[in-house]
C-alpha cells in the first residue's frame, strides 16, 4: 500500500511546524525520517496517521485522501506506534494487544478465537509471550514499548507508522524490533533517531530540519558528512562497513577529534 504526502503544511496553535512536505512511501518500502529534535518529524507523522489535520496539502493512502476516510477504515489499513505511552490504567498485556483488533470489530462483536490467536502470535513476535496475563503497570519502559508494537502487529495493517520505536529499548531489542518490522514486508514510515539504525534498515531516508525536507534518497545518498554537519551540527566519519555493506557513521564530538585525542596525556600504566 502506497502513501503519498503532497505539499503538506501543518501548524500547532498558529505556529507553522512543517511546511510544504513531499514524501512518498512505495508499497513494501521502509522509509525513514531523520532530523534533530523539533524538526517536525512527529508532526509530519501525526498528519500522516490522521491525528493532526494539516493546513494544506493532501495525504493519500492508495489514492484515497486519508482525511476523507473514516477513522475506522484508516485504522484497518494503517497501524501506528506513537510516542504516547502513558498506560495509566490496569489492563493486562493481552487485553492491550487485543485492542489492536478493535478496527476489525463491530459494536457488539466479542473477541473470537482468531483474535486470540492473532494476539498470541503478536506477543510471540515481540518476545513477550509469557507476559500476556501481566498487568501493563508492572512492565518496564522497554517492555511497554514492545507491547505497543505487538498491538500494532495485531491490527494486521498494510502500513506501519513508527514514531521513534526504538526509544526505551536496549540494543538487543532495538535490533530485534527492527528485524521484525523489516520481515513484515509492509510499507513502513518511521521517525528514527539512531542514524546507524536508519542506514541499516531504511530503503529510503528523508532528512528533516526546521520543518522542511532537506534531502531524500537512499542512505548512501543522504547520510553524508556534509549533510550531517549542516543538519545535526556534528562532525562525522562515514565508511561503508566491511561486514554489513551498509554505511556506518562514527560521530566525532569535540573530545573525539583526532587533534584533541593526540593532545591528551598518555595513560600511565
Amino acid at each position: 500500500m502506497q502513501i503519498n504526502v503532497e505539499g503538506v503544511s501543518s501548524s500547532i496553535q498558529e505556529k507553522r511546524i512543517i511546511s510544504d512536505i513531499y514524501l512518498q512511501a512505495k508499497s513494501g518500502r521502509f522509509v525513514g525520517i531523520v532530523g534533530p529534535n523539533g524538526s517536525g518529524k512527529s508532526t509530519l507523522l501525526k498528519s500522516i496517521y490522521r491525528f493532526h489535520k494539516p493546513d494544506c496539502g493532501v495525504i493519500t493512502l492508495e489514492d484515497n485522501d486519508i482525511y476523507k476516510l473514516s477513522a475506522k477504515t484508516t485504522s484497518q489499513k494503517m497501524a501506528v506506534v506513537s510516542q504516547e505511552t502513558n498506560n495509566l490504567f490496569d489492563f493486562s498485556v493481552r487485553e492491550i494487544v487485543l485492542m489492536g483488533r478493535a478496527p476489525h470489530k463491530k459494536m457488539w462483536a466479542t473477541d473470537t478465537v482468531d483474535d486470540e490467536r492473532i494476539t498470541v502470535e503478536a506477543l510471540q513476535k515481540v518476545g513477550l509471550i509469557d507476559y500476556g496475563e501481566r498487568s501493563i503497570t508492572t512492565l518496564s519502559g522497554g517492555e511497554k514499548q514492545r507491547v505497543m508494537v505487538a498491538r500494532a502487529l495485531a491490527q494486521q495493517a498494510e502500513v506501519l507508522i513508527l514514531d521513534e520505536p526504538t526509544n526505551h529499548l536496549d540494543i538487543h531489542h532495538q535490533l530485534q524490533l527492527m528485524d521484525l518490522v523489516k520481515t513484515l514486508n509492509i510499507t513502513v514510515i518511521a521517525a528514527l533517531h539512531d542514524l546507524n539504525i536508519a542506514s541499516s534498515y531504511c530503503d529510503q531516508i528523508y532528512v528533516m530540519n526546521e520543518g522542511e525536507i532537506v534531502t531524500s534518497g537512499t542512505p548512501e545518498e543522504v547520510l553524508t558528512e556534509s549533510t550531517l554537519q549542516e543538519v545535526f551540527r556534528v562532525n562525522t566519519n562515514i565508511i561503508k562497513h566491511p561486514i554489513t555493506g551498509k554505511i556506518h557513521i562514527t560521530f566525532l564530538s569535540d573530545a573525539m577529534q583526532p587533534s584533541n585525542l593526540d593532545e591528551r596525556e598518555p595513560l600511565n600504566v
Partner: protein
C-alpha cells in the same frame, strides 16, 4: 562462550519464575476469576439487600410478608399467595419502602455507571458524575423551588424539573466552554466544570442566605446533601429508564471506552472517532446524572468510589467494569440508605452524609494499599 549463554538463559528462567511467584503473572487471572464470582454473587446480594432493607425500619416486617406483598401487586401472580398481612403493612412495604429501596438501587447503580464512564472520558481518576457541574446546576434550580416556590405551575414535579433544567444548563455551558476548534479538550472540560460549579455554588449559597424562612433552608440543605425521602412510584420509571439506556449504550461501547483510556492518539489510530464519541458520552452521562440528581439530590462519593473499587478487584476492562459497578453501586446505596434511616431514628440523615462517612475511610484504606495505582503512574 556457549556455556556463558546457557548460564544466562537459565538465570533468566529463574528470574521469570520468581516474577510469577510474586504474583505478577496471575494478577490478571485473579481479576478474571473474581469477575465471574462477582457476576454470580452480586445479583443475589442485591436481592437480599433489597429484602433486608424493606424489612428494616421503625416497624419491622418479616421477609416472607415483604415478598408476598410485592407479588400481590403483579397482575398475574396475585393469586399465588394468601393475604395474611394488614393494610398498614401493605402500605408501608409497597407505598413507602419498596419505591425507596428501588430508587436507591437505581440511583446507586446510575451514579456508579456514570462515574466509570466519566473517568474514562476525562482519563482522570478524580472525576465523578458531578465534575461537569451537574450537581451545582441542579442545586440552583432545586433551592429556587424549595425556598421561593418557583415553578409552582408544575406541582409536585417542580423540584425535579427545576433540578434537571439547572443540571442541563450547567452542562451545556461547560460543554461549550471546553470546545477548541470543534474538538473537546479534556483539560478544558475539567477546568470549565470546576469554574461553572464554583459560580453556580455561589448562586445557590446566595439563594439560601436570602431565603425568608429557616425551615426552607433546612430542607434545601437536606436536598443538597442528597436524600431518597421523596421516593415514590412516580419518580421511579424515569430514573430506571435512564439508567437502563445508559447501561446498554456504555456496554455496547465498552471497547471504545477502553481505547479512550489508552489516550487520544492511540484511540484515534485504533479507529475510534474520538471527537464524536466524547460528545455523545458527555451528553448521555450528563442526562443520566441530571435525572438522578432531580430525583435524589446530589449524593456524593458513590460515583467516585465504586468504579475504583471495581477496577481494583477486576481490572480496567469496561466490559467487566460496567456491570459490576452497576451492581455494587446499587447494593452500596441500599445500605447507605438503611444507615440514613436507622442511625438517628426516628430522625433521618441525608444519605450523602452516610455515603461519605462510610465511603471515606474505605477510600483512605484503598489509598494506602500500594497495589492499586488509581490510574496514576505507580
Amino acid at each position: 562462550m556457549s556455556n556463558l549463554a546457557a548460564e544466562n538463559k537459565s538465570e533468566e528462567k529463574v528470574i521469570k519464575l520468581d516474577v510469577e511467584r510474586d504474583g505478577h503473572g496471575d494478577h490478571t487471572r485473579r481479576h478474571a476469576d473474581r469477575f465471574k464470582i462477582l457476576l454470580f454473587v452480586l445479583p443475589f446480594l442485591l436481592l437480599i439487600s433489597m429484602t433486608l432493607s424493606v424489612m428494616l425500619g421503625p416497624v419491622s416486617i418479616p421477609a416472607l410478608t415483604v415478598w408476598k406483598i410485592a407479588l400481590s401487586h403483579f397482575p398475574l401472580l396475585e393469586n399465588l399467595t394468601t393475604k395474611d398481612w394488614s393494610t398498614a403493612q401493605s402500605n408501608i412495604v409497597w407505598e413507602i419502602r419498596f419505591p425507596r429501596v428501588l430508587l436507591g438501587a437505581t440511583v446507586g447503580a446510575g451514579l456508579a455507571l456514570v462515574g466509570a464512564g466519566i473517568q474514562a472520558l476525562v482519563r482522570n481518576s478524580l472525576a465523578d458524575p458531578y465534575i461537569l457541574g451537574v450537581s451545582s446546576g441542579a442545586s440552583v434550580g432545586a433551592t429556587l423551588v424549595i425556598l421561593f416556590g418557583a415553578f409552582s405551575l408544575f406541582g409536585e414535579y417542580a423540584l425535579s424539573l427545576a433540578a434537571f433544567l439547572g443540571a442541563l444548563l450547567s452542562v451545556i455551558l461547560v460543554f461549550l466552554l471546553s470546545q477548541v476548534g470543534g474538538r473537546i479538550s479534556t483539560i478544558r472540560l475539567l477546568l470549565a466544570g470546576i469554574a461553572i460549579s464554583m459560580i453556580l455554588s455561589a448562586a445557590t449559597n446566595f439563594i439560601v442566605i436570602s431565603a425568608p424562612e429557616g425551615e426552607g433552608i433546612r430542607n434545601a440543605m437536606f436536598w443538597m446533601m442528597g436524600s431518597l425521602v421523596g421516593a415514590n412510584w412516580n419518580s421511579l420509571p424515569m430514573a430506571v429508564i435512564a439508567v437502563t439506556i445508559t447501561f446498554i449504550y456504555l456496554v455496547s461501547q465498552s471497547r471504545a471506552l477502553n481505547l479512550l483510556m489508552m489516550g487520544e492518539e492511540t484511540a484515534a489510530t485504533l479507529g475510534l472517532n474520538i471527537d464524536l464519541f466524547r460528545k455523545i458520552l458527555i451528553v448521555i452521562t450528563a442526562l443520566l446524572t441530571g435525572v438522578l440528581v432531580a430525583v435524589s439530590g446530589a449524593i456524593g462519593f458513590v460515583g467516585l468510589m465504586i468504579p475504583h473499587i471495581v477496577r481494583l478487584l477486576i481490572g480496567s476492562d469496561h466490559k467487566k467494569v460496567l456491570p459490576i459497578s452497576l451492581l455494587m453501586g446499587a447494593i452500596f446505596m441500599i445500605w447507605a440508605d438503611v444507615g440514613a434511616r436507622l442511625v438517628v431514628a426516628p430522625e433521618e440523615l441525608p444519605i450523602g452524609i452516610v455515603t461519605a462517612l462510610c465511603g471515606g475511610p474505605f477510600f483512605i484504606w484503598l489509598l494506602r494499599k500500594s497495589s492499586y495505582s488509581f490510574g496514576g503512574n505507580s
